[in-house]
């Protein structure tokens, strides 16, 4: 028992010691409690033997042993603890079991709902079948409308959004559904393909508004959404890989007993799994947020130098050999993808960077990457500009050109802001603000492609 004369002092000292111990990854909260009990017993014993409380504390801490050595011993016994584990509901603390479990239940129900939703059209005779082009078109146009409203619903539930926000989100989804389904698209045409591609991009912003809750107007809120999107993508790819393995096994073992499950896989397992996995992956990203290191920034660290080297070598080769750029149909799309990847690298390294730190070598590399991408794209645009008239303005080409200009503007201004930051003339937060404020531009362009393009190009 602590000395009644100095109750505050000893408690404070123990608090400090405890918080110091808690920072050790190998020593868990239960162990700290066990060690604390030991320390208190030791102090009480020494006080009884005639020591002053603070002396007793010092002796007790000394006897406990060097903390580095101690945490090394704990790490040797509990080596698994050095891996950040995916613990969804912590067994030790038991602090937040109720919301965690409710969250799991809601996410699971919504995932099932998404899996069911994708099969609802088959009740009305719509089949995912390569011999029925109209049905394929229908699914392509509406794919995001089966899944994203449910995902949005998850965040509405989780962030407890008010009815006014709810109304706007509902209006956006209904409007998207109407536009995607009332236009008289030509079967398997260009404009229906563009709609299928751009509708999810536009609706992703709606998901973002729900994700950010009331924080969409803040830079930090939108940045969190960017982080979420990157992690979701990585999780989705991982789940898809696992799903692929599962599917292969299903096909294999049923073939062993002479049953062909191909139709079942094609029309049930694949579409339902892919739809449900979006919600499951989102829930996982939310649940593990603080438990596992974010992957997207790690990947950008790895690939930024490689992409910078690739682009520099490309530009060098272009200059050295003087070869003209061979203008092909897909050239613009290829460069759009390149710019999108570069922006992704920029975004995700920015999302993990502490904005207060001064510039370092990686920032220089980042600028080199952005500038080389800008130069490469400028060369490509220059080559195309002269001959765009010959090709004519098909919907695909106009969309690709618009995207190229949007990405180019983003990257050019990012380069300016980044160089200012490197030269000590600006803050890193300026770049963050620019990137997060630019998000609506992508959605706006996607909306234009979905709403204006089909009538403008006569639904070809």
């Amino acid at each position: 028992m602590p000395d009644p004369d100095q109750p505050v002092s000893i408690e404070e000292q123990i608090d400090q010691w405890r918080s110091y111990l808690r920072r050790r990854q190998a020593i868990h909260a239960v162990d700290v409690a066990e060690l604390e009990d030991h320390l208190r017993e030791q102090v009480a014993g020494l006080v009884k033997a005639g020591l002053a409380t603070d002396e007793a504390f010092l002796v007790a801490v000394k006897r406990m042993g060097n903390l580095d050595a101690l945490s090394r011993e704990f790490a040797r016994e509990h080596s698994d603890r050095l891996w950040k584990q995916l613990v969804l509901v912590s067994p030790d603390s038991g602090e937040l079991p109720a919301p965690g479990r409710a969250d799991t239940l809601v996410a699971f129900c919504l995932a099932v709902a998404a899996a069911v939703a994708i099969k609802v059209p088959s009740l009305f005779g719509r089949q995912l079948d390569e011999h029925r082009p109209d049905d394929i078109d229908f699914y392509a146009r509406n794919l995001s409308l089966f899944v994203l409203p449910l995902l949005t619903g998850y965040f509405i539930w989780k962030r407890r959004l008010g009815t006014s926000t709810l109304r706007w989100l509902a209006v956006a989804f209904i409007a998207a559904g109407v536009v995607a389904n009332i236009y008289p698209f030509a079967s398997r045409g260009y404009t229906v393909a563009l709609t299928a591609l751009h509708l999810p991009i536009g609706l992703w912003l709606i998901v973002g508004v729900a994700y950010a809750g009331g924080r969409w107007r803040e830079v930090a809120g939108r940045m969190d959404f960017i982080r979420f999107s990157g992690e979701l993508f990585i999780y989705y790819v991982l789940i898809a890989l696992g799903g692929g393995v599962l599917t292969a096994f299903v096909a294999m073992i049923f073939r062993a007993i002479g049953i062909n499950v191909g139709p079942f896989i094609g029309s049930w397992l694949l579409p339902c799994g892919a739809a449900g996995a979006v919600v499951v992956a989102s829930w996982l990203v939310e649940a593990k947020q603080s438990v596992i290191e974010n992957m997207a920034p790690v990947l950008t660290r790895l690939f930024t130098p490689l992409f910078a080297a690739l682009l520099t070598i490309f530009l060098g080769t272009l200059l050295w050999t003087g070869r003209p750029i061979d203008i092909q149909r897909d050239l613009l799309i290829a460069f759009d993808l390149l710019l999108a990847v570069v922006i992704g690298l920029l975004l995700y390294s920015a999302s993990a960077r502490d904005p207060r730190l001064p510039p370092d070598a990686f920032d220089v590399l980042q600028v080199a990457l952005v500038v080389s991408a800008l130069l490469a794209d400028a060369v490509a645009l220059w080559a195309i500009a002269g001959r765009i008239g010959e090709f004519g303005f098909s919907p695909n080409r106009v969309a690709a050109l618009g995207e190229n200009i949007i990405l180019l503007v983003n990257l050019a201004w990012s380069a300016v802001l980044y160089i200012r930051f490197l030269r000590g003339r600006g803050q890193f937060t300026g770049l963050e603000r620019w990137q997060t404020s630019y998000l609506p531009v992508y959605a706006l362009w996607a909306a234009i492609v979905v709403i204006v393009f089909p009538p403008a190009f006569r639904y070809v």
């Binding site: 028992m1 239960v30 162990d31 409690a33 066990e34 060690l35 009990d37 030991h38 208190r40 017993e41 030791q42 014993g45 006897r63 406990m64 042993g65 060097n66 050595a69 101690l70 011993e73 704990f74 040797r76 016994e77 509990h78």
Partner: protein, 128 residues
């Protein structure tokens, strides 16, 4: 006299199991019992006992439970299991064999060299 760390580590399992065989106990009391038994010669670094206890728990030699101590605080108590008892019997046999061997050589030496302290400080491999 300071006892070599390797010796402390080697004897820790047997000591802890034997003390728990006397009755259920907890960390601080185990340390006190070790001090008492060794007359203060076996100085354990207190914290190091816990990884040992956790290892024994993982191996199934002891069982742990949280309980409320007489002072009202939560405390983790350890109890020896039947497997732990079997392990203790096994270790006891081994220690007795080591002890018997050493006793034999001590007896032989004590007639030849009466008391040589310098010899016992020969460089032994230090444990980390």
């Amino acid at each position: 006299m300071e006892i070599n760390k390797d010796l402390i580590a080697a004897s820790s399992t047997s000591l802890v199991l034997a003390i728990l065989a006397e009755g259920d106990s907890y960390g601080y009391a185990i340390i006190q019992r070790v001090r008492e038994l060794s007359g203060g010669q076996l100085e354990w670094t207190d914290g190091m006992l816990y990884p040992v206890l956790h290892r024994l728990e993982r191996l199934g030699y002891v069982m742990a439970r949280w309980d409320v101590a007489e002072n009202g605080r939560r405390r983790k108590y350890y109890r020896i299991t039947s497997e732990g008892g079997a392990q203790l019997t096994e270790e006891r046999k081994q220690w007795q064999a080591v002890d018997a061997t050493l006793r034999g050589i001590w007896r032989a030496l004590s007639t030849a060299i009466p008391n040589n302290n310098g010899e016992s400080a020969a460089p032994l491999p230090e444990g980390v």
